[in-house]
């Protein structure tokens, strides 16, 4: 392609007034062609990688059931009325965050998840945030 671009440039030496237009057209075409080619290649190899990884996952699936019950036990599923719209993964993430917040000294059981009380004003929230570390130090949490 480099040689063709050079030919395009050489051709303009006889008609310098056309050089700008030739560079404009060459620029458009080459930039778009190269990037369109990259789009095609990325789609192609992404498809191949995706298919290969799916195949590998399908092969690995029979080994999974042994782990699944452990994961299910670790997450305490809360009553449905509080958890509508939440999948197990989200519940697990929130449970893990709560556990990390309280530390390993306390056993934590999440019994329900609901949206935060947005009616509480910012000053009240700030007060709660300030008090929690002190309550933890005194063993109240």
């Amino acid at each position: 392609m480099q040689n063709y671009i050079r030919l395009a440039a050489d051709a303009t030496q006889q008609a310098p007034s056309n050089q700008s237009l030739i560079i404009l057209i060459t620029g458009f075409v080459v930039v778009f062609l190269v990037l369109l080619l990259l789009i095609g290649l990325i789609k192609l190899y992404s498809g191949i990688v995706y298919a290969a990884q799916n195949k590998a996952k399908a092969k690995a699936k029979p080994a999974q059931p042994a782990l699944a019950p452990v994961a299910a036990e670790a997450v305490t599923v809360a009553p449905a009325s509080h958890n509508e719209g939440l999948d197990l993964q989200t519940v697990a993430v929130i449970t893990a965050a709560v556990e990390a917040f309280y530390g390993s000294t306390k056993k934590v059981r999440v019994t329900g998840i609901r949206p935060a009380n947005t009616a509480r004003n910012e000053w009240a929230n700030a007060g709660i945030r300030e008090n929690i570390p002190a309550m933890r130090t005194e063993g109240l949490l």
Partner: protein, 413 residues
């Protein structure tokens, strides 16, 4: 009395050597401009990492021009030389003028002259690209490869500006160097200019980095003018996750394609992709960190300082500089506009699934242009997060401007 005379002669000598005698009004104007740029870099924080060394380079070269002087030879009468060197003759070439023999004694160049060789030889911009590659996540582009179209569309401004610059009297090499400002990619602009028209490096670097810093001011009015409220409010679907293997293959494939088809773009694209491969492979943590931090910082200092040092009063204070700054702005605006227009086309073809605002991020200016697209989108719909979608065209723009640079270098170099 002899001591006093000696002291006076020394003071006079110092005065005659000082800038107070040797500088002209152009130098003083440039010193004022450099101080203004330092103010913008420090107080306003406009691209301070580059604008600060550029402005300081500009300041110091106008205060002390020999700091950028090339090595030369000095003619010293042979007798005088021998007398001052304990009667020993030297092996320098001898020139005879009007019956007097002179030694051609070589003198060293200035500090910045030697550091500038990295720009002149095209070394620093690809090394900067190495660091940029380490910092870039091509995931959004791999997840949505159609972003490449927007990255390509935003380069159209480069070629239109090339035509305008040619029409108003710039030679093709200068026009190509000016047009590349529209790529909104500082290292690419410097790389192309250092090869095509090195004498324009100062104005072009200042224009390129100024417009990159002004992205949040320049782009939003164009974005609002070319899109409707409905288009700006489009919420795009979440991008698919990209596997590690895809991310590792990406830099290898892009390097092969670009270097095969457009060898002139290989130094820029190759280094960008090498940096990215350091990052994504995960096996060269030490060199990845060095390329991303220490190397990048060192090259940034050298590049900024020496590019700024090319902006001497004689070079910078010309009518052409104003034209370059105006044309650079036009190139940048055109790039933004074409990116948006192609974004609108994608909006139509996908039946409203693509927010055209992400097209404006096709000009490189990573990640500022993507942030601006996100911000303008959120001004219509605060719950709309376009950042990751805009990062696709944004990083595609980096590759696109390197390819456009390759085209210009192939034709005009």
């Amino acid at each position: 009395m002899g001591i006093l005379q000696g002291f006076w002669d020394s003071v006079v000598g110092l005065y005659l050597d000082s800038g107070l005698v040797s500088l002209n009004w152009r130098n003083y104007v440039m010193i004022a401009i450099a101080c203004f740029l330092l103010f913008l870099a420090i107080k306003k924080q406009y691209e301070p990492l580059l604008l600060l060394p550029i402005a300081f380079g500009m300041l110091i070269v106008n205060l002390y021009p020999p700091i950028m002087a090339a090595p030369s030879t000095e003619l010293i009468p042979v007798e005088q030389y021998i007398a001052s060197h304990g009667g020993e003759a030297a092996n320098y070439a001898v020139t005879t003028l009007e019956g007097i023999s002179y030694y051609n004694v070589p003198t060293n160049g200035g500090l910045l002259y030697y550091l500038y060789q990295g720009v002149k030889l095209g070394l620093y911009p690809p090394l900067i690209f190495l660091g940029i590659g380490c910092m870039t996540d091509f995931g959004p582009l791999i997840a949505n490869p159609k972003s490449f179209i927007l990255g390509a569309a935003a380069q159209i401004g480069i070629f239109f500006t090339f035509i305008v610059a040619s029409l108003i009297g710039f030679d093709p090499q200068a026009a190509g160097s000016i047009g590349i400002i529209g790529g909104a990619d500082g290292p690419t602009a410097i790389y192309v200019t250092s090869i095509l028209k090195p004498e324009l490096l100062g104005p072009i670097a200042v224009a390129a980095y100024s417009y990159m810093a002004l992205v949040p001011i320049i782009q939003p009015p164009i974005m609002k003018a070319l899109t409707t409220k409905k288009e700006r409010s489009v919420v795009m679907e979440q991008l698919r996750p990209v596997s590690k293997l895809e991310k590792i293959l990406f830099p290898i494939i892009v390097t092969i394609v670009c270097a095969l088809l457009l060898p002139s773009a290989a130094p820029l694209v190759g280094m960008l992709m090498l940096g990215n491969l350091f990052k994504e492979s995960g096996v060269v943590d030490r060199i990845f960190k060095t390329a991303q931090n220490e190397l990048m910082n060192i090259i940034t200092i050298f590049l900024g300082l020496t590019v700024g040092a090319t902006a001497t009063g004689d070079v910078f204070l010309r009518g052409d500089t104003l034209k370059i700054i105006g044309l650079g702005l036009a190139a940048f605006c055109l790039g933004t506009a074409f990116g948006l227009l192609f974004g609108k086309l994608m909006y139509i073809f996908t039946k409203g699934k693509v927010n055209p605002l992400i097209g404006s991020a096709g000009v490189s200016a990573v990640p500022m242009a993507a942030r601006v697209a996100n911000k303008v989108g959120q001004s219509e719909n605060p719950s709309n997060f376009l950042l990751m979608h805009a990062m696709g065209p944004n990083v595609a723009g980096v590759i696109g401007s390197a390819v456009a640079a390759g085209v210009l270098l192939s034709i005009l170099g």
